[in-house]
């Protein structure tokens, strides 16, 4: 293995759920000894979706603290230390405040629910909460980009929701991520990425399209991540095992970290199927001493063919988990980055503890 510093494989616990796990996130906790999760489930036997908070014991058992039934299945889930935002396939957005509350009462009532044809029509592809802020951006298959202000007291309904862009179905967005308090990046079909700046409204300020492959394959962006220390670079993962970084300073030259559509022999292809989620992995120290700002930091991915791995520019990927079924989502505990949790297609959750 080229990536050193990981002599032992991680400890893996699989916890069967008997329900489909749509999405899973760590919930930042105040106490370092307590670990909490928020999970979006779908019970096929009763046809009911649910959003739940569980505490994770040291023996890797989950116990339910709070639960809420959304109007339809959760399509995207995000957590910050003070907020939880969940979007649904029916086009509604629900935000819950965790600040100053016991976790048992978080899901008693949403702080804000935005529903209706003025908001999104059809599934919401992605939501993101601004780190430390209270703005939630949502993008949908209908091509709309909406901004919801959450923290505003006494503000409910449509008043705190603003349309940034309406693509009218001519485009569809599948992922979104904040870059700064005024900028965010969206992703969609054709490996397209759009950089938006709220100070320059009307349209995206920069666009990226897959030009590297000269038209053999194309795909959809499923997930985007932006590192707080490298706000000019956007990491994206999508179809055909593609993971690439798009640096605003060199817009025409994406840095491809993994993928089959490339002829570049230096790129390692980890998976040929869809990469469902990408996150920068702060646990992995970069193997290279080159820490220039143009170098892409290590990132973790999960894929449809059941791989959870850490990839780094120019290095051999490090596989953490190889499941016989898809890994649909994962999350790295930002307070304790050695802990990773992922949701498996076969109705279970895997908990990894890296040594």
């Amino acid at each position: 293995m080229a990536i050193t510093g990981l002599p032992q494989p991680p400890q893996i616990h699989r916890v069967p759920q008997f329900r489909y796990v749509d999405s899973i996130r760590w919930l930042p906790s105040i106490s370092p000894f307590q670990k909490y999760l928020t999970v979006a489930f779908f019970d096929t036997d009763s046809g009911t979706p649910s959003l739940e908070i569980h505490s994770l014991s040291s023996s890797k058992t989950l116990s339910l603290l709070s639960s809420w039934n959304p109007p339809s299945r959760i399509s995207s889930l995000k957590c910050t230390p003070s907020l939880i935002a969940a979007s649904t396939f029916s086009g509604s957005l629900h935000c819950f405040s965790t600040a100053g509350k016991s976790l048992e009462s978080v899901f008693a009532e949403p702080q804000i629910s935005v529903v209706g044809r003025d908001f999104h029509v059809g599934p919401i592809g992605g939501v993101d909460l601004m780190e430390g802020g209270s703005d939630c951006v949502s993008v949908g298959e209908d091509g709309r980009v909406n901004l919801v202000k959450i923290g505003v007291e006494g503000y409910h309904g449509k008043g705190n929701c603003r349309r940034v862009f309406d693509g009218n179905g001519l485009v569809s967005y599948t992922a979104v991520r904040w870059a700064s308090p005024t900028e965010f990046v969206t992703g969609g079909c054709g490996f397209g990425l759009q950089w938006w700046d709220l100070r320059r409204p009307g349209s995206a300020v920069a666009q990226f399209k897959d030009n590297w492959d000269q038209g053999t394959t194309s795909g959809i962006i499923h997930s985007i991540d932006i590192h707080p220390s490298r706000k000019h670079t956007c990491l994206a993962g999508g179809s055909a095992g593609t993971v690439f970084a798009w640096d605003l300073r060199w817009q025409q030259e994406p840095i491809i970290l993994s993928g089959v559509g490339t002829n570049d022999a230096k790129t390692h292809s980890l998976s040929e199927s869809d990469v469902w989620e990408v996150h920068y992995d702060c646990y992995m120290k970069s193997a290279s001493s080159n820490t220039s700002s143009s170098r892409i930091l290590p990132a973790m991915i999960c894929s449809e063919d059941g791989i959870l791995a850490v990839i780094e520019q120019g290095e051999e990927p490090l596989e953490l988990l190889a499941e016989p079924c898809a890994i649909n989502s994962f999350d790295i505990n930002c307070q304790n980055p050695s802990d990773v949790i992922c949701s498996l297609e076969w109705e279970s959750i895997a908990i990894l503890s890296r040594p």
Binding site: G143, V171, S218, W346
Partner: protein, 725 residues
């Protein structure tokens, strides 16, 4: 999902007496009522019932005339799903079944790939048989993997626990599925322990006797019942049930329980030890004899009693010795000194069991299976393997006929009778499609004869063999559930004849509206190299999204499918909206779609025009009057390339030319040369002719547009000719 309601549905049901749509006779024997809460106001005019996904029924209820309804909250009908009956097994819930289904995928796939490689080796002539010696190990590994899914391994029957009064240990309730799987494994997969098969059967009964209690009287039930009374009994050895239960436990080989219960005997109590010394000696002697019983098996689990002998000669010697000790005790003079009648009779009875007294064994056991085990233990201890086991079973069934045969017992009879078809039928009927599809691996590995039978192609099955039939049936069940359909391909792909066809149908039938599901579906196509299926699914998805107003998604999937025909058709529709709505402002909306159509190498049908049109509009915007810049040149080039290109729709010609008026009236010098202007004039002429055609779509322009373009072109032509001369 239906909600169960006892009464009638709907608030306004008062006019119909019960609200029942179909008269229901309560005295009919087998009727099961599934009340549905449809919540509709009567009158109900029509009820339609059809199959929904899986084993559910779809019930559609229609009201008579929704038009007459006075309030708008009335709905015209409702569709509900009903799941008739419960689970087949009654022990595993749907979710647990799914877990078994997920878990068995990997072992199954591994075994199939090993079989394929074994077959290819044998084809190359390297090995005489596809199932060489190692095959047993593979099947055994497969069996153990699957078995671990069905429950934790548990070999302790009702072992001793610290509570002296607790005879039977409370353990996790075993499942029939696990019991059946263990049985199959014992007989077919575990070749290493074939020699001590009888002892394994003893263990099996110890583990699963509780399951047989569902339909049979069992020793387990007897023990449970007695354990309940145990605390209330003061002088235990006076109770005839006590001796009965110990004998039963001994008869079926639960030595630990027998010994533990013997030691509850009153003579062990310190205050009585003195007065009942002989009696206690006899009890202890029997207990010691029981715990020294020789067993033909390699090892015993912790806490188990008996002495193990690995080889038959050693065992036979030990057995004779032990029997001699039992006989000696039986004819001992101490019995005369034992005053306690029940103890004397009870202990003698136990010695008779150990000596193999058939009639006492028969009274001590409750059903034929237990009798069978007791025969194996005490009458035919030297039985090895399957020899004459079937005839013994037949004999036991005659002695203790089954009133309601338990499914596990039916399976055992099939296995002992070595009747492959019966075994398979029992598996499929009693344990479900999962069992039939997975247990068949045991049968094909079991004997050549069975393998031939199961792999023989049958005309009455449409040319497929029995193995394939059961896999197809299982795959069908998997396909019917939203979460398990993804694992059905693993089973379909192992079906040589019909698998591929059904796999294609399965993939086509998956809904395309959900993006994630669509991607998962396409991934399966990729894995099995079903490119044409994949491209058809993308076409279906493209058209679906297009129809639902997600034009970008539609175009994307159609592009992925390389469907020029569809792209051309939707291009015409797009142009309609472009022609009407496109302005500089709305181009921002189109940007994303146009970007998607971007590179030349991707098939875009007529849609590539949009890309060029956008470029033209954009450069035109940058053109400033008066100065010739790169943008001006760019605009002229775009204009010419648009007008030359055959893919530019005719209806856009005039708007394009009208937009370019400022290029034609350029102050400084004519921007288009004579030949370029001629070309444009020709196009204009063509357009004038086309306008006479009834299908022509008039552009949304001022009425004088055509004449002003014509004038501008003529002016430019004049200037260009002057310039060039």
């Amino acid at each position: 999902m239906p909600r169960v309601a006892s009464g009638s549905g709907g608030g306004g049901a008062s006019d119909s007496i019960t609200g029942a749509l179909v008269p229901f006779l309560p005295d009919s024997q087998d009727a099961v009522v599934y009340p549905l809460l449809h919540g509709l106001k009567p009158p109900i005019s029509r009820v339609s019932i059809s199959w929904a996904r899986g084993n559910t029924l779809r019930v559609s209820v229609f009201r008579s005339s929704p038009a007459e309804s006075d309030s708008d909250e009335d709905v015209g009908g409702k569709v509900m799903e009903v799941r008739p009956g419960g689970n087949v097994d009654g022990q595993l819930s749907d979710a647990q079944w799914r877990r078994v289904a997920y878990g068995s995928v990997s072992p199954f796939a591994l075994l199939q790939s090993r079989r394929n490689s074994a077959l290819s080796v044998s084809k190359m002539g390297l090995s005489p048989s596809p199932y060489h010696l190692e095959w047993w190990e593979y099947v055994s590994e497969y069996s153990k993997d699957v078995s671990s899914l069905l429950g934790n391994p548990k070999s302790s029957a009702g072992p001793v626990i610290e509570d002296p009064k607790e005879v039977l240990k409370k353990v996790e309730e075993p499942t029939c599925l696990k019991a059946a799987w263990d049985l199959m494994e014992m007989f077919y997969a575990d070749k290493l322990s074939q020699a001590w098969l009888p002892e394994r059967l003893v263990d099996w009964l110890a583990d699963y006797d509780s399951l047989l209690s569902d339909t049979q009287a069992t020793v387990y039930l007897k023990l449970m019942e007695f354990q309940g009374r145990l605390v209330t009994l003061l002088v235990i050895e006076d109770d005839s049930r006590y001796w009965e239960v110990i004998s039963s436990a001994l008869a079926v080989g639960w030595l630990e329980i027998a010994v533990k219960m013997l030691r509850l005997h009153g003579s062990y109590q310190l205050d009585q030890l003195g007065s009942r010394e002989t009696e206690n000696g006899l009890v202890e002697a029997v207990a010691v004899l029981i715990s020294k019983m020789p067993r033909l098996r390699p090892e015993l689990g912790a806490g188990k009693l008996g002495e193990c002998f690995k080889t038959k000669p050693d065992f036979m010697k030990a057995w004779e010795r032990w029997r001699a000790q039992v006989t000696k005790l039986e004819s001992s003079a101490f019995w005369l000194q034992c005053d306690h009648l029940q103890t004397r009779e009870g202990l003698k009875n136990m010695l008779q069991i150990m000596l193999g007294n058939a009639s006492i064994l028969s009274t001590a056991t409750c059903n034929w299976m237990e009798l069978y085990i007791s025969h194996i233990l005490y009458i035919r201890p030297f039985t090895v393997g399957l020899e004459s086991m079937y005839s013994l079973a037949q004999k036991c069934i005659q002695l203790k006929p089954m009133t309601i045969p338990h499914k596990l017992m039916r399976l055992i009879v099939g296995i002992l009778g070595e009747n492959t078809e019966v075994i398979l039928a029992e598996c499929s009927r009693d344990f479900g499609t999962w069992m039939a599809a997975h247990a068949i691996e045991f049968l094909t590995a079991g004997s050549d004869q069975a393998e031939v039978l199961l792999h023989e192609e049958r005309d009455n099955l449409g040319g497929i063999n029995i193995e394939e039939l059961h896999r197809l049936i299982y795959a069908q069940v998997l396909s019917s559930h939203i979460l398990t359909w993804q694992i059905a391909p693993i089973y379909l792909i192992s079906c040589m004849k019909q698998g591929m066809g059904l796999l294609e149908i399965l993939l086509y039938r998956q809904p395309v509206q959900h993006n994630q599901l669509l991607v998962k579906n396409l991934e399966i196509c990729r894995l099995y190299e079903l490119d044409s299926v994949s491209s058809n699914i993308m076409k279906i998805a493209g058209v679906y999204h297009w129809k639902h107003g997600r034009k970008g998604y539609g175009v994307f999937w159609l592009q992925q499918a390389r469907d020029e025909v569809c792209l051309n058709r939707i291009a015409q529709q797009l142009f309609n909206s472009v022609g009407k709505s496109i302005s500089d402002e709305s181009f921002k909306q189109w940007e994303g779609l146009i970007e998607l159509l971007g590179s030349e190498s991707k098939p875009a049908g007529g849609l590539e025009f949009l890309h060029k049109y956008r470029d033209f509009k954009r450069s035109l915007k940058q053109v400033n009057d008066g100065k010739i810049t790169d943008a001006t040149q760019q605009a002229v080039e775009s204009l010419m390339s648009l007008m030359k290109n055959t893919s530019t729709p005719q209806r856009f010609w005039l708007p394009i030319l009208y937009d370019s008026l400022k290029l034609l009236y350029w102050q400084e010098r004519p921007l288009l040369n004579a030949s370029q202007t001629n070309l444009l004039l020709n196009k204009l002429q063509e357009l004038s002719m086309a306008r006479l055609h009834p299908d022509f779509i008039e552009a949304d322009l001022p009425p004088q547009a055509l004449s002003s373009v014509r004038l501008a072109l003529a002016t430019n032509l004049g200037r260009a000719i002057l310039e060039e001369s």
